[in-house]
């Protein structure tokens, strides 16, 4: 990996900023107003190779680490955009890279790198089990050279703009496994072949203009070679990718946080009421200063996570804590920014309300704050498991 202040990281920042300059605030505002999908942005990011940063060079990517990937997403959010439209590919690719067969890797990775195919979706969450993932009810039953899928998923993002999805389903009933984390498997689902042929997609209208959906599986048949890795080990494979995912989300939040504090400071310097800039009042400047401090602190944890991850050390603790700190800091920065803008913060043309909604998501998804606290309590502080 590259050092956080290296020339490499600097040139990545500049490169992403140059691309993002083409997709300005007006672009994102329009997408948000129309509840549209930023297709032009996603294509540009793909074509310029940013989404294949971590795909190894032999498969057509740039073979970079989590540090570099995190900077890419951070910069998108810092420039006023929303990485939620692209981050899926960054971490789903890992699952395939780490656990896919040679045949799967040589077939799919070069196509992902070139942009011919998109792997933007991961189907884990279910309506009746939520965070309690091991209780998922979607099943995959082996029949000859096929797996037959039945069940339901919810909040599965970017399905309508992806070609592939990684799906978690139970292959051995919960009652028949020794450990509840066993007996689940992951599959690479070709959405082009399955939507309308056993898979029904129902979009969910939501607060953050996230393209996210309910999925219904009704005897969906998948070729047996869609299985990734070994049957029954899918949950472990998914967990494996989560440290990367959390670190990437932390970086996005840091990008958001910096966007908010810059926006707040600029407005507080310029806006004059009661005969002076509002930023001259401690009541206005302190919340902005506080947000700045917290973002910078979260950033240190994010880099610790990147450094551990990229040097092969278990980054679980750092990645979770980075996600916790960064999501909290960006939310506080957002709140301070809205308050600083007074009534104008609510006007869409300032972009504050949009980014405010967008950054709020990260205290709930992909993992809620409470679950990180439980993780820290149980795994780092050796307190009894609370659930």
């Amino acid at each position: 990996m590259s050092h956080r202040n290296s020339e490499d990281i600097k040139s990545i920042r500049e490169g992403v900023r140059a691309l993002c300059a083409e997709f300005d605030a007006a672009y994102w505002r329009k997408i948000d107003e129309e509840k549209g999908f930023p297709e032009a942005f996603v294509s540009a990011m793909t074509q310029a190779g940013w989404l294949s940063a971590m795909i190894p060079e032999e498969y057509g990517g740039s073979g970079l680490g989590l540090a570099e990937a995190s900077v890419i997403l951070e910069e998108v959010n810092y420039c006023g955009g929303n990485s939620g439209t692209i981050h899926g590919q960054m971490y789903n690719m890992f699952t395939l890279l780490r656990h896919g067969s040679d045949a799967q890797k040589t077939y799919y990775l070069p196509k992902l790198a070139s942009g011919e195919l998109r792997l933007q979706s991961m189907g884990v969450t279910e309506p009746t089990t939520g965070t309690d993932t091991t209780k998922i009810k979607t099943t995959a039953v082996r029949r000859g050279d096929k797996y037959v899928i039945n069940g339901q998923k919810v909040w599965i993002s970017r399905i309508q703009h992806s070609d592939l999805m990684i799906l978690l389903a139970r292959t051995t009933p919960l009652a028949e496994v020794k450990k509840k984390s066993e007996g689940m498997s992951i599959f690479l689902v070709d959405l082009r072949e399955t939507i309308g042929k056993g898979l029904t997609v129902q979009p969910i209208a939501n607060m953050v203009n996230h393209e996210t959906n309910e999925l219904f599986f009704d005897n969906l048949e998948l070729p047996a070679d869609s299985l990734i890795g070994e049957e029954g080990k899918g949950f472990r494979y998914i967990l494996d990718g989560l440290n990367a995912e959390r670190t990437l989300i932390a970086a996005e939040c840091i990008g958001d946080g910096r966007w908010f504090t810059e926006k707040s400071s600029a407005y507080a310097r310029d806006r004059v009421v009661f005969g002076r800039p509002i930023g001259q009042n401690q009541g206005v400047q302190f919340p902005i200063a506080e947000a700045h401090i917290e973002i910078e602190a979260a950033d240190l944890m994010r880099w610790r996570a990147c450094e551990e991850y990229d040097s092969g050390i278990n980054a679980g603790a750092s990645a979770n804590m980075a996600k916790y700190l960064a999501a909290k800091a960006s939310w506080e920065a957002a709140n301070a920014c809205l308050q600083t803008h007074g009534g104008f913060g609510f006007a869409c043309e300032y972009d504050v309300e949009r980014k405010f909604r967008e950054t709020r998501l990260y205290q709930v998804a992909p993992i809620s704050t409470n679950l990180i606290l439980s993780y820290v309590a149980e795994h780092l502080l050796e307190l009894p498991r609370s659930f």
Binding site: S11, I12, G15, A21, E22, A48, S62, L64
Partner: protein, 249 residues
């Protein structure tokens, strides 16, 4: 055919320029620096010539401080093949830069030299013209279209009355105007590849060029802040103010 492109490191166009307190120049401390936008257009044009198979090699050159290597790397990421930095920490005049570029032209023997028509810092708009005079090559300034065929290049120029097309024998000098093309952004693989491309650092001494300046900057001042406008009640009042206050009619 080898194309030489010259680029300049300047204050980014988004930055609000501040003059130093002692009026000795523009404050560059912690200011974002970028490639001059007209130079980006020059690089893009060279890359397009290479993509069309007209150019075989693109050499990009900058005269400036060692930090100008950043802009050279950007040009390499956009598609230039190798870079030359003529390192000078001093603030050089256009003539000194033109002399240094002439020395690089002698060394590299390009068939086409592309420069920005001006740099957005001092807006001199003369380096390309001076280089043409020093090298004796034909010049097509303010280009909005460049077409190479055989041993000549047709350059459509933006002039006051519209457009003018000149035909120049190669080697020639072209300076770019805004409408020539829309520069691309660099892709990640090309940014990574750019790090491995050669970047040679030269000095004015090594090129045998004296950069001693005949100019002296006396004082740099920010333009006066624009005062608020006023509304006039009648045409007569407008005419009166234009005559007696603005003194323009």
């Amino acid at each position: 055919m080898r194309v030489l492109v010259s680029i300049k490191r300047v204050v980014d166009y988004n930055v609000k320029i501040r003059v130093k307190a002692d009026n000795s120049g523009v404050d560059l401390a912690n200011v974002k620096m970028s490639m001059n936008p007209f130079c980006e257009i020059a690089v893009e044009e060279a890359v397009r010539l290479k993509e069309k198979g007209v150019a075989t090699e693109i050499v990009v050159v900058s005269v400036g401080p060692s930090t100008a290597q950043e802009q050279l790397r950007t040009a390499l990421a956009l598609g230039a093949d190798r870079a030359i930095l003529v390192e000078s920490a001093e603030d050089l005049t256009s003539l000194a830069v033109a002399k240094l570029l002439k020395a690089v032209v002698d060394k590299e023997q390009p068939q086409l030299v592309i420069l920005g028509k001006q740099a957005i810092d001092s807006d001199n708009n003369q380096t390309g013209q001076m280089l043409a005079a020093l090298s004796g090559y034909g010049q097509g300034t303010f280009a909005s279209k460049v077409e190479v065929s055989g041993d000549s290049v047709a350059v459509t120029r933006e002039i006051d009355g519209g457009a003018q097309t000149v035909s120049l024998k190669l080697p020639a000098i072209v300076t770019t105007d805004l409408r020539l093309n829309e520069p691309r952004y660099a892709s990640l693989p090309n940014i990574m590849k750019a790090k491995k491309k050669p970047l040679e650092v030269l000095t004015p001494d090594a090129l045998g060029v004296s950069t001693a300046s005949t100019n002296k900057t006396v004082k740099v001042e920010a333009p006066a802040a624009r005062s608020a406008g006023i509304k006039v009640k009648s045409v007569a009042e407008l005419v009166e103010k234009l005559k007696n206050e603005a003194k323009v009619i």
